[in-house]
Amino acid sequence: MASNTSNAANNDVLLEIRGLRIDGMRDEKWHEIVKGIDLTLHRGEVLGLIGESGAGKSTLGIAAMGYVKPGCRFSGGSITFDGIDMIAASEEKKQALRGMRIAYVAQSAAASFNPAHKLIEQFAEIPLQHQKSNKAEAYADAKDLYGKLLLPDPNRIGFRYPHQVSGGQLQRAMTAMAMSCRPDLIIFDEPTTALDVTTQIEVLMTMKDIVEKFNTAAIYITHDLAVVAQMADRIMVLRYGELVEEAPTRIMLANPKQDYTKSLWAVRSFRKTPALNLGQNDNQPIISVQNVTAAYGSLDILHEISFNLYRGQTVSVVGESGSGKSTTARVITGLLPARLGEVLFQGQALPKDYRQRSKDQLRQVQMIYQMADTAINPRQRIRDIIGRPLSFYLGMNAKQCEERTRELLDMIELKPDQFIDRFPSELSGGQKQRICIARALAAEPTCIICDEVTSALDQLVAEGILRLLDRLQRELNLAYMFITHDLATVKAISDDVVVMLKGRIVEQGSKDDIFSPPYPEYTEKLLSSVPQMDPDWMRNLLAKRS
């Protein structure tokens, strides 16, 4: 089934963007967020757009549909889609194109589906609206596409509601929906960022497959290099709304030219300095989790979890979402009292419920959260956020608080004079996470639980946070429990690794043991699902698995 190539038969350029400028409104002034970008996309080609958040990659992606978000405007340049000027075209004309010839797959499929309608009804909506097919045809087509995207039970899955399928399935159903009119161009906006590695690879594979099958052109937006290496024929690196570098995937991966691109490539090379005192035998664990079983209501979530945390060392807890990683943290902090088993702190059992713990016991174990946005109170200034543990636990007066807060800000590499009086909304994502770290440090703990602390951040910023945590660990001899689903992070920061699946520990040991063969089955699957920078990686892996 070929795409409709009626009015551009002898021209294989599908989308052409020249000198595009887009302004965004901030503080009641226009700021340029896309600064004169050129882009050419041929039929059937997949172009990867990559960059940090704020690089303008999403703005550029949706601009291809002739659309800008509210609060933005086109201020220059041209967008030509198959001979149609997308900036000048009337809204009706653009609407006729959207869905029919240009489709969009968003990051959060869950937020993009209407929860009140069945998947297949939403699939059929656009073909019916554009009178491309009748209901029976649309439904038959949906089932066909669901099958092609390897969704389980393709004949019936469409009759489920969005909440009745998993995240990975929903993302594939969304791709099927985007395919419903066989568009010429699909824009994928970080479609797998919210998924687990093991799910991500299935989704990526089917997406790549279907795009190839229908010879659809695609723009693939992501911040993950390894993912884009699998998907794209050509890669554009963006930064601050400008093009940094553009090249075919293989050339780009083998030989990046610009310093910025090289730094992106090098991010994954960070390795923690190994702990100096590896003599675990002679010192007592700071925290020892012993045979913990925990339940929500009557349902056991954790089954007999045991592991130890030592001073100056990092234990990474890895697993897919729902594997019980965060629940383990909740048991240690006492938010979820364990049903069976105990948590020992320096050999002494901690009360199971945090409300029964003493101030000092609470102080010893601090927590850093995934979403720094929600982890600090937006109505408090930095001085109050960091100062509170100081006065609360250590009984400091206002002057001592101020001094110590400044010291802490220095430690997390933020200039005290600039930041001490700010509100959280005046900070970037990475800076907020640094404030969370400072707040944890203020309590002078011996152990910090880091719950996916870098997964909401850009790679460069995340690396900065990892380096900071590593430095602090060496300086202060802290124990970290590092919860993550990102194996690159695990490799970077851990001493010991605990692999979890469905509330059980499937493997644990030192990092070197875990990351060298032989692997248990699940660890193998987890490790092999992590995208590699090699563009042939996915093809080879799938050939191996099937």
Binding site: R271, A375, P378, Y393
Partner: protein
């Protein structure tokens, strides 16, 4: 051991954020200047009312309940808006009415917010059975039509001003409770509240420092609306004879006392009613603007 080959990561883009921050006062003035006409009108009206309420004794040379002439005298030089059914100066009573009605309504609304706001936030923080008990009590109170309920309570406890204030405040706090609980529920699930709990903070800190500042905008908007409703309730109760008692000047009872004049084509009894209406409209204009501002901020960021 890998030496760090990547360039120094520099997340501290301090230059992007302006260092100097305009003072709060200046910001407020700028906001006020940009406010829509309706909001400016509302602010003007409310300021006028407050001015009258405070300076009532200096704006007229008659006493609040002093009988200065015959009943129902005409508008004129001596009595600007004539006199009422007992021969008291209408204009004077209108001014004092602002003082009494607005003052009592304000105190009542504050009390309602104190009761309803704190219990609502506590219900959201504590959850479980304390939440159940408080919510069900509120449901029961709300199930009884509030005007009839307050009439009943006023008949039981008598009609002094403190009783009036407490009864209306308690009945009105149910609405505040519901709002405060609903918006707090969105805040108590935030990680920073969990962090405060894990730090070992007490209930007072979590309520006042973590939750309350984050639910202020809807509460302030609700305060304006509640104030209008309380104000109308008091006027209605006074009209029915169970509110503010004579000889204290009050707009509700002034309408009732002079209602007979309407049949003779005299609009004097409509003046206190108009005063009530104007204030209600003014307050609502301000609340609309405020709601628009705070919700607009959410959309923009």
């Amino acid at each position: 051991m890998n030496t760090n080959i990547s360039p120094k990561v520099q997340p501290l883009d301090a230059s992007q954020i302006p260092a100097a921050r305009p003072s709060k006062f200046k910001l407020a003035l700028r906001e006020l200047w940009r406010a829509p006409l309706s909001a400016k009108f509302g602010i003007l009206v409310v300021c006028g009312y407050i001015f009258i309420a405070i300076f009532a004794p200096w704006l007229t040379h008659y006493g609040e309940s002093e009988i200065v002439g015959g009943p129902f005298e005409e508008w004129g030089k001596k009595f600007l808006l004539g006199t009422d059914n007992l021969g008291r100066d209408m204009f004077t009573r209108l001014l004092y009415g602002a003082r009494n009605t607005i003052g009592i309504a304000f105190v009542t609304t504050c009390l309602a917010f104190l009761i309803g706001g704190i219990s609502g936030i506590l219900a959201a923080i504590l959850g479980g059975w304390p939440d159940q008990i408080m919510s069900r009590v509120v449901d029961i109170l709300m199930a009884i039509p509030s005007l009839i309920f307050s009439l009943l309570l006023l008949t039981i406890f008598g009609t002094s001003i403190p009783v009036l204030v407490i009864i209306i405040a308690v009945l009105d706090s149910t609405r505040v409770f519901r709002l405060a609980r609903a918006v707090s529920l969105n805040v108590v699930v935030m990680d920073y509240v969990e962090a405060a709990r894990l730090r070992g903070e007490g209930l007072a800190w979590i309520t006042l420092r973590e939750v309350l500042p984050n639910i202020m905008p809807p509460l302030v908007a609700e305060f304006g609306l509640r104030f209008c409703f309380v104000f109308l309730t008091i006027a209605a109760l006074s009209f029915l004879g169970l509110g503010i008692q004579p000889p204290t000047a009050d707009w509700g009872s002034m309408v009732r006392d002079n209602a007979t004049l309407i049949s003779y084509g005299d609009i004097t009894p409509l003046l206190p009613a108009g005063a009530i209406a104007l204030l209600t409209v003014g307050v609502n204009f301000i609340v609309d603007w405020f709601l628009h501002k705070t919700s607009g901020l959410k959309d923009g960021q």
